[in-house]
Symmetry: C2
Subunit: 196 residues, 2 copies
Amino acid sequence: MTGLRERKKQQTHDALSEAAIALFLERGFDEVSVADIAAAADVSKPTLFKYFATKQDLVMHRIADHRHEAARLVEASSEPPVETLAAHFRAGLDERQPTTGLNDHPQMLAYHNLVFSTSALATRLREFMDDDERALAVVLGGGLDAELLAAQLLSTQRILAYRNWLAISGGQSASKRYSAALDEANAAFARIRPLG
Amino acid sequence: MTGLRERKKQQTHDALSEAAIALFLERGFDEVSVADIAAAADVSKPTLFKYFATKQDLVMHRIADHRHEAARLVEASSEPPVETLAAHFRAGLDERQPTTGLNDHPQMLAYHNLVFSTSALATRLREFMDDDERALAVVLGGGLDAELLAAQLLSTQRILAYRNWLAISGGQSASKRYSAALDEANAAFARIRPLG
DNA sequence: TCAAAAGATTAACTCGGTCAATCTTTTGCC
DNA sequence: GGCAAAAGATTGACCGAGTTAATCTTTTGA
């Protein structure tokens, strides 16, 4: 039984998120108050904060879906961690997945632009990545080497994705960038010395 | 001429920082309001914010002195970057420098404990490190390899320092930890593949 | 000694986030 | 189908961080 209540909750959730992102893209994150958003979605401010813990989460919850992804992938795979994540990143490039930065859909571009150029959001993104790093280190077995490797793997993904976003953001198409992106990914992952 | 004005500014600055840290250590960062601190230092709230841009900075300005240190060291040295930073870290261990985590003075321990266990402060620390990373990447010549190396170097320092702090925080003396700290530093820096 | 500049103060304000009390809606049960 | 209880939303007041503008005091340099 998919309760009516559930559906209304989902609706309110989506209405808030969509209203928020629309307003943020239009006026900028810092120039929109949570009161504006609550009003746009026809709910009260306390209600808004029942759905999203912080103003930032109105934007970041989309990315939050990928939390601990690296740890999950490594845990689920029988291949060595570096290979697993390198292969996954390459596949992401192929599929133009937003997490690789290689996506030139105008909405995605605008969304990423919002995140990267708003310091409160960039900071929150970094908090997510720190979390991912801790989770990955655990899956890698813990200890100094695991922590170092986890940090290096996630730094690598972050830097590759950011460089791709920069290129796309500079006007290059995803297809045009693809070849360089793949080269960079191969070079970057090749620099990583595996565990053991 | 060291103006009277300058001296008073310095006094107010120190009074604020000391009052703040004392109160934070006593009651916890989130349980002290900036109004409390301003009152303790006998100034008004707007005056406090002329000296420190944020509540966090009342704590973090001490660490902020070391900003861009890695970039400065590498720029000033004629040795290869990895050697330079590894040597500097080892020297820091010898001297029990707080940045290495290997310092068991009760005040230092309490201070680090405050920073690491207060999420607002840990977040601000991470912002500093991101800044350091960008600066280091520039000094390393920019480009993919420089960015990857900068990230790896600073991750390495962060992880080593945190592990040392954990050990000290768990009751071990700095002297007792020293040998393991040195071994870990050597192992960690040895994992790093230099540029070129 | 005095004019000008620097700095501090007060008071009021914005905004993010929380809380407590009240009211509405949904749901599960008879 | 109707109803009690629980879940959720609303309102309004509140807190704390940080800002702003107007006023006042102090330092400075001529």
